[in-house]
């Protein structure tokens, strides 16, 4: 095993981890705010990727511009979904029933993508798709770097929003203790709707980042939901920094493990990490004590 390959794998792992963090950020937010297990999150990622592909196909512009459409659109869908569907679930069985509800939504999205754009596997053809930058001897693909930058930027924004803004405070208060938040005058149902919209907006960004360097097809989301769920559990449900760290650790771990173990075994890392977390520290390694309510 040579060091150049190891360093290259490390670089790839960091880039992959960044993407994982972005893709998982929304999932942890939904659970944090509303105890909703959002199975359809990855389906929305793929939907955003399809919109980016279609946008590029129709206009010839860079798929990143499709964010101008998908981010507000997904935010709106998220708010609508929470206000119209999720709130109708009984609080006592919310977590369980949200699995069923969002599973149905995931199937619906998959079916609609197939119906509208067929099952043909698509890839955005970018003039810079094969380009890379040399970084200390390792090749860093431009598309992966862009996805990473997009992830870093949106996670930083999300973090600032949560920490600094009034809305963020209200959202965190809702995450921490819903009844107490209501007592101090926070309209938690409205905050929950906006929080859900925010989560889905990250799916729009994540899906677009994914579309830069992936071949997409309607059923692709099933390959993503498992690893993403593992990431948010390891990271402590509801904690965005925890999710980011867990995503980074697992991304780098997976990439490095592929060198000696091969792809098949490296993929099991997520599930090993999931089992280990549930056995040793069910509240997650970085998050609060939310998981105990699961």
């Amino acid at each position: 095993m040579n060091t150049a390959l190891l360093f290259q794998s490390l670089v790839l792992g960091v880039l992959l981890g960044g993407l994982y963090a972005l893709l998982a950020a929304g999932l942890t937010l939904y659970f944090g705010v509303m105890r909703v297990v959002m199975i359809a999150h990855s389906a929305f990622l793929i939907l955003a990727a399809y919109i980016a592909w279609y946008f590029n196909q129709q206009t010839g512009w860079d798929p990143l511009f499709s964010l101008l459409i998908t981010v507000p659109l997904f935010f709106g869908i998220g708010v609508g979904m929470q206000r119209l569907l999720i709130t109708r679930l009984r609080p006592a069985t919310l977590t369980m029933m949200s699995v069923l509800l969002t599973f149905a939504i995931a199937l619906f999205i998959e079916g609609m993508i197939g119906f509208v754009w067929s099952g043909t596997q698509r890839r955005i053809q970018l003039p810079y798709s094969g380009d890379s930058i040399n970084f200390l001897g390792a090749s860093v693909a431009v598309v992966k770097l862009m996805a990473f930058a997009l992830a870093a930027l949106s996670l930083a924004l999300l973090y600032l929003l949560m920490k600094k803004s009034r809305f963020g405070q209200a959202l965190r208060a809702t995450i921490q203790h819903k009844e107490a938040a209501q007592l101090v005058g926070i309209r938690t149902d409205r905050v929950a709707g906006l929080g859900f919209g925010l989560g889905l907006a990250t799916a729009a960004i994540g899906g677009t980042a994914l579309s830069l360097d992936a071949t997409i097809y309607p059923s692709l989301h099933w390959h993503w939901i498992g690893p993403l769920m593992a990431i948010i559990v390891v990271g402590g449900l509801g904690s965005i920094p925890g999710t980011a760290i867990a995503a980074m650790v697992l991304g780098i771990g997976q990439s490095l493990l592929q060198v000696p173990l091969g792809t098949t075994w490296a993929q099991t890392l997520f599930y090993v990490a999931l089992f280990a977390t549930l056995m040793l520290r069910p509240q997650g390694f970085f998050g609060g004590r939310l998981a105990q309510r699961f």
């Binding site: 290259q8 790839l12 992959l16 119906f115 596997q121 890839r123 992966k144 071949t215 792809t263 098949t264």
Partner: protein, 407 residues
């Protein structure tokens, strides 16, 4: 749309089942032709899930075959009708589907599904019911080692022999021009591995060194680590045992690492029309074996390509052609034996095919005792942006480009 189509099939199946009961009740009364005397052919295909892309190609091929047969007056003077179920790319579903088609729906004939992984379990069901099982996609060697006596593969060659012409060419090069090292990455799938390992083993026997030999699960979408291994090995030849998205993602990942092999061969994906839409101008020199080309001058092929293009607006690719070939093979047996129903007829069809040579859109086909076709695959290469046949030399549409230009 698809649900409506299913509905019509349902009605049609019910009608034909009713017709069957009627005709057996008052035997001697020859079916008056028309819709109550159709030949129903049952198929299960992966229309959703991982194999939906090639699955839909096979569906188009079957439907084109049925439409053309019906336009030409049907089989034995009877109209044919397909009953296609969606197995969602699952081996459990495919077994259920064929059980239902044969036992419950009482279809007259069956066609095979797509992909080796689904062919083996469904061939077993077909064998239990003594049905003729001609299939368009189970090319891996293991399909023919299960002892099936009812199975025929409707394509020119089994997976392990797909690269025979390429291996022959490479090993025939003078020592100083011949590549020395080979990197192999294959999906954990009998067909994909069959093609790649067929070439790998022949090159290894010829003295080339295998420096990377990776296997990845079918759900793999990130190929950067595999690409890093291949790139770091600096192999002269890269061989991909691939289906579609894995080849595209692996090739782009290799390009991102500035890896420039002297020869790159991938199964299946490069023959897909979507391939160059995904990779763009960087396909130059990529090789792929193929059992079919729309340009082939076989008699039935010219007609097939023309009428298929009329229906779909673009010429058929390999999946469509193999499906169509399946239809042709079954039709040849039915016409020769003169029957199409469950029971003794099926064994007669099987016996006839065992010794027959059938003219198809992929050329004349004949089979050994296990159902292995006895022809060879052509080697195609992207030359000047078009995929052309480069090997063997007597079928060549363009000169073989070696070493491959940088991508």
């Amino acid at each position: 749309m698809s649900s409506r189509r299913k509905h019509t099939w349902g009605v049609a199946a019910a009608l034909s089942a009713g017709a069957l009961v009627l005709t057996t009740a008052c035997s001697g009364d020859s079916g008056g032709g028309g819709s109550d005397d159709t030949i129903v052919i049952g198929v299960s295909l992966p229309l959703t899930g991982d194999f939906s892309e090639p699955g839909k190609g096979v569906q188009r091929g079957y439907e084109a075959w049925a439409q053309m047969v019906n336009e030409d007056g049907g089989l034995l003077g009877r109209q044919v009708e397909l009953k296609i179920l969606d197995d969602q790319s699952s081996a459990d579903r495919v077994v259920q589907d064929y059980e239902a088609l044969i036992a419950k729906d009482q279809v007259d004939l069956i066609f095979g599904p797509f992909s080796t992984r689904l062919v083996v379990p469904s061939a077993r069901v077909a064998e239990e019911y003594g049905m003729l099982f001609v299939e368009p996609a189970g090319a891996a060697g293991e399909v023919f080692e299960q002892g099936f006596e009812n199975l025929f593969y409707a394509a020119p060659a089994i997976a392990e022999d797909h690269y025979d012409y390429l291996a022959e060419y490479l090993l025939g090069l003078p020592e100083d021009e011949r590549p020395q090292t080979v990197a192999v990455a294959s999906m954990d799938d009998p067909f994909a591995q069959g093609t790649a390992y067929g070439l790998r083993d022949k090159l290894a026997e010829g003295g080339l060194e295998i420096v990377v030999d990776e296997v990845y699960p079918p759900n793999t979408t990130d190929f950067s680590s595999i690409a890093a291994k291949i790139s770091s090995s600096g192999a002269d030849v890269v061989v991909g045992g691939t289906q579609y998205q894995d080849a595209v993602n692996l090739i782009v990942s290799l390009q991102q690492l500035n890896y420039q092999p002297r020869l790159a061969a991938f199964s299946t994906a490069p023959t897909n029309p979507e391939f160059s839409a995904a990779i763009g101008a960087k396909t130059e020199g990529i090789l792929s074996p193929t059992g079919y080309t729309p340009e082939a001058a076989w008699e039935s092929n010219t007609d097939f390509v023309e009428r298929y293009t009329e229906i779909h607006g673009s010429p058929p690719s390999e999946d469509e052609a193999n499906a169509f070939t399946t239809g042709q093979v079954v039709a040849a047996a039915v016409e020769a034996v003169g029957c199409a129903e469950q029971g003794d007829c099926q064994q007669q069809l099987i016996d006839w095919l065992r010794d027959a040579e059938v003219d198809t859109v992929v050329g004349p086909l004949s089979w050994d005792d296990a159902g292995r076709p006895q022809s060879a695959h052509l080697i195609q290469q992207y030359v000047d942006g078009e995929i052309r046949i480069v090997l063997p030399e007597d079928a060549q549409e363009a000169d073989f480009v070696f070493p491959k230009p940088a991508w």
